[in-house]
């Protein structure tokens, strides 16, 4: 069975998307990306220095193997995010953009108003837009309506490793979405990724948990397995839990 999913007309086999920030070295980052089995990596444009070949993160990512998804991290309003996306397009890096608009510099929570505004404009300019959002089902539908390729609700604040704290809202988003749902941010352990996949999301994006692990490549492999396990369990159909304990083989002879 080919269990693939499609974003912006491109088919993906791996349901694990990986971020490239926070690693100890480029070598460690490359090893982790390989171990994860991912086909899509995000790159923060604020870290890309086109004027400095030695500090150029893109140099280490093989475009034949991975789709590079630039993100607008650091942008605090629609205007800045749009400007970054346009420059990326002009520099020939990508016409895809992971839209991040975070006016609050501490929790880095996404701004729904500015994100929707930027998404509308960028879709209109031909970008494939993947917006990072709070787990807000109505916003998710609004973004779908303006033509976004996915929605990327957060499980918990970015870099918090808290897991899926927005469970109920993500379930509504999954139920209502006609575009892929990718859980982004907050996933701190493979079990969190499994949980998200079991809930029926299409993919998970993981960065901090892999990058800051003592052994990033090993953690990336663990996440690959976590995502695959959760996905298979979802497809297999997870029996509903019962609210009371029940013996599986009655021994009393009574009919209950």
């Amino acid at each position: 069975m080919n269990d693939t999913f499609t974003i912006g007309g491109r088919e993906f086999y791996s349901r694990l998307l990986v971020g490239t920030g926070k690693f100890r070295s480029s070598e460690e980052m490359v090893a982790a990306i390989e171990a994860s089995g991912t086909e899509l990596v995000t790159v923060s444009l604020r870290r890309v220095d086109l004027d400095s070949p030695s500090d150029h993160i893109l140099k280490f990512i093989d475009p034949e193997k991975y789709l590079v998804l630039p993100n607008t991290s650091g942008a605090r309003n629609a205007e800045e995010a749009i400007r970054l996306a346009r420059l990326t397009k002009a520099a020939g890096i990508s016409t895809w953009v992971k839209l991040e608009v975070t006016p609050d510099p501490r929790y880095l929570l996404p701004d729904p108003v500015e994100t929707l505004k930027a998404a509308k404009i960028l879709v209109g300019e031909g970008f494939t837009v993947l917006p990072y959002i709070n787990a807000d089902p109505v916003l998710a539908k609004r973004l779908e309506d303006v033509g976004c390729a996915t929605v990327m609700p957060l499980g918990a604040p970015i870099g918090s490793n808290l897991g899926i704290k927005t469970r109920e809202n993500i379930l509504i988003i999954v139920e209502q979405a006609n575009i892929p749902v990718v859980v982004d941010a907050g996933i701190g352990a493979p079990s969190h990724a499994s949980e998200a996949m079991e809930m029926g999301v299409d993919a998970c994006l993981v960065n901090t948990a892999i990058a800051v692990a003592n052994n990033s490549a090993m953690m990336a492999r663990a996440f690959k397995k976590g995502v695959e396990a959760g996905r298979e369990a979802y497809l297999a159909g997870i029996p509903k839990p019962l609210t009371t304990a029940r013996s599986s083989s009655p021994t009393t002879g009574l009919p209950w």
């Binding site: 920030g21 926070k22 690693f23 100890r24 070295s25 444009l45 604020r46 870290r47 890309v48 220095d49 004027d51 400095s52 030695s54 500090d55 650091g74 942008a75 605090r76 800045e80 400007r83 970054l84 420059l87 006016p103 609050d104 510099p105 501490r106 929790y107 870099g159 918090s160 490793n161 901090t208 990058a211 800051v212």
Partner: protein
């Protein structure tokens, strides 16, 4: 007594309550009475409360130094990854009309004064750009004739034109309107140290010049945020006042700024007096152990704030702190105008870490961390 953080107004009113009503003495009691059980319980949940922060300033916290260090490392990693951001100061001028007791730039000091011309600044900055720096801090003494708002705006524009993506200043302080003008030129962040929050000591340390005005200075970070500048860096000059009282006020100041200005990124630095002009004597010298204790407590209290260390500190101490609370550092600094391209004029303070940028970078790598020059974008503008 309880001081409310209402998230409005300017910090001076909170500072006055802290320093006038014996609130700090109450806080110091917590510290002095802290026992090992108190210290252990602070490590249960992050970030720290004010009581827990104060507890970790206590010498008894040193008994748990390893655990506290591990927690600080973990928090730094979670937020900033395995990276240390490098920045470079560029001294534009050592002209100054203040006479701060601890500073070599004071009016009483007799040495070669210099203010860089646009051409000289361009030469210096280009050298630094070629090394790889993308984050630059423009430093100047206070002299409106030598370094006016217009001069600084021109310098900020110049830095952006050369290719620096992040431009900060550490100069005399300004009004909200003046900060807005500098923001329009591309200013990303302002460093403004209160030096000491102790109003009486402040007057003694600043006998003449515009810097005498404690209130105007303590509210400068609020004005910077109000002007829409995206970053403000605060700190005290360690060694000037009682570091425990100063640290508590500094942490309260950051809490105030975070609440009053939700879009402003507040960071902290830890400048420490190592040498000062004749006549200055420090009654409150801060030891390495105390400095590290403070930085660790700050990281546990402010997991999301950039904490920076300059080349005032020795290589040994800096290497220990990289990634352990500290996520930003200068490297290869010269503290005199013209110091990169030539001998330079009089310097503000001697650097203790005189390693080259690449030597510092390799020390950072040895700690299992990556040094980062660019972590910002030229397209990021002031909030307003």
């Amino acid at each position: 007594m309880r001081i409310e953080n209402e998230g409005k107004g300017e910090f001076s009113s909170m500072a006055m309550q802290l320093w006038a009503d014996g609130a700090l003495d109450e806080a110091l009691n917590i510290m002095e009475n802290a026992d090992e059980a108190n210290v252990i319980s602070t490590l249960d949940q992050m970030p720290l409360t004010s009581d827990e922060f104060i507890t970790l300033l206590s010498p008894i916290a040193d008994n748990f130094r390893q655990q506290i260090e591990e927690t600080a490392k973990e928090l730094t990693r979670l937020r900033f990854g395995k990276t240390v951001n490098l920045y470079i100061p560029l001294y534009l001028s050592n002209h100054c009309i203040n006479n701060c007791s601890y500073c070599w730039f004071g009016t009483d000091q007799n040495f070669e004064r210099k203010v860089l011309s646009i051409q000289e600044a361009r030469e210096e900055a280009k050298l630094l750009y070629r090394v790889g720096y993308r984050n630059i801090l423009l430093v100047a003494g206070e002299d409106p004739k030598a370094t006016s708002v217009e001069y600084l705006a021109e310098m900020i524009l110049l830095m952006k034109e050369i290719g620096f993506v992040f431009v900060a200043i550490e100069t005399q302080i300004f009004s909200t309107d003046e900060y807005s003008k500098l923001g329009a030129a591309g200013l990303d962040s302002v460093t403004v140290y209160q030096e000491t929050y102790d109003p009486i000591l402040y007057s003694k340390a600043h006998p003449s010049g515009p810097k005498r005005d404690y209130m105007w200075r303590i509210n400068a970070p609020d004005r910077i945020a109000q002007a829409g500048i995206r970053g403000v860096s605060v700190g005290v000059l360690l060694g000037l006042g009682d570091f425990r009282r100063e640290a508590i006020t500094l942490a309260t100041h950051i809490k105030h700024l975070n609440k009053a200005h939700w879009q402003t990124s507040v960071s902290a630095s830890f400048p420490r007096i190592h040498s000062a002009p004749n006549g200055f004597s420090s009654e409150h010298a801060v030891s390495d152990t105390e400095l590290v204790r403070l930085i660790l407590a700050m990281r546990l209290t402010f997991p999301d704030s950039t904490l920076a260390i300059s080349t005032r500190e020795t290589p040994k101490l800096r290497d220990q702190l990289f990634g352990m609370g500290i996520n930003q550092a200068s490297a290869g600094s010269r503290t005199s105008p013209g110091g990169y391209s030539g001998g330079g004029a009089g310097e503000q303070f001697p650097v203790a870490d005189d390693r080259t940028p690449m030597e510092v970078a390799s020390a950072i790598q040895d700690k299992g961390l990556e040094w980062v020059f660019k972590d910002w974008d030229i397209n990021f503008k002031p909030i307003k």
